[in-house]
Amino acid sequence: MFQYDEIAVKNQLLELIRRAATDLPEDVVEAIQAAQENEDADSAARSVFGMILKNIDLAREESTPICQDTGTNIYLVHMPEGVSMRKLTTLIHEATAEAVDKSYLRPNAVDSITGKNSGNNIGEGQPYIHFEEWDNDYIEFKLMLKGGGCENVSTQYKLPDVGLGAGRDLDGVYKVIVDAVNAAQGLGCAPGILGIGIGGDRMSSHMNAKTQLFRKMTDTNPNADLAELESKLYNDLNTLGVGPMGFGGKTTVLGVKMGTMHRLPASFFVSISYMCWAYRRHSMLLKAGGEVTYD
């Protein structure tokens, strides 16, 4: 039976939230630095990247949020058999409320009927927590903070799409993604990172798209067809000229990550989860002895 000290884990989760809100992961920072190098000298794009990189450093040094929209807090938790989901949910909620008190998170949960803000970032469906059991003898908490601006430009298509001439194949998938990124312009805080879910139903397809965003920027898709399409989209989308924050430039996306699911014969969904450049995700491993490591 996996046992842990509840107060210690609550504090470790608070540290996970602090890192997610204030410390952009190294693979993302490196992608932004490379994008800046690729922009023309004296261009608006290069200057915008300079401001972005300065802000990233400042947030890390001062332990303040990189973006004031600390987003939907999305947790993927993997755990050994027998661990209580209800107890972990309670600990995540306690850490969340404390993170609001410490100004790591903004109170971001608004009642959809009354418009009342709950004040502690906790509400129905917030934070979003997904649990899965696994064979390992430790618990993994993955956390992503996804802001509203980029969530608002995220979208879902169903193929075929007559207007775009997009059929039920990877070429059709390519076309709807180009359409979505062009429609998004700078509104989702470009350059974006795209999580793409192909297949599934409307719900699982979006989930798949978001799950892709937990991959590292530098990984290669194990499916050769998808790896090729990710690379083609990355290159082609960067010819759109939207640029960082929509100011124009050579960098419209920083990465494209795709995954598939089986679908019904009748359905062919393509879900696009657009993540802003403030691509905040970290993870924490909790071992049986209480030892914790962060990534």
Partner: protein
Amino acid sequence: MIKLQLPVSEAAIRELKMGDEVAISGLMVTARDAAHKYIHENWPDWLNPIMEGSMIYHCGPVVKQHDDGSWSFVAAGPTTSIREEPYEAAVMEHYKVRAVIGKGGMGEKTLSGLAKSGGVYLHAIGGMAASLAKAVVKVHDVYMLDELGVPEAFWHIEVKDFPAVVTMDSHGGSLHKSIKAKSDEVAKKLIFG
């Protein structure tokens, strides 16, 4: 870099052109989704002295309240402006607001409004939350905090050298419109060959 001190005159705002970089100092007010809906339904007089000749910042900050009850901004970047498109031109004209600051730009209705009433759209850098919070030197007051919550309340703030770029001016110029027109062309080629 053009320095703007608030309150600012209509004439000074009409001199600004798309692409100009500005540094703003003085008193301005935050207002975003719920605040714009509220204004549009109530047109309250108490906003007159706060808004006239000033600027609206589309921002939902992370704040900290100190032991003496005073507030400071911890993270304060812009939010996406286009959601206020239904309201903004009317709000700017009614209260004589000289600029809105946000990100992503706004549409035709606001662009015409800027020309009519004498205003500009200023783009701040989204996600620049930590840096921009430093430009907010003092929180003077907060209105409707209980009703609207921290992100959506009216925060009356004093800024110093707050950096932004004019991306929509009072002469019909819009950087967002021209970038979109170009990227539409590229997207069409990529999709239809």
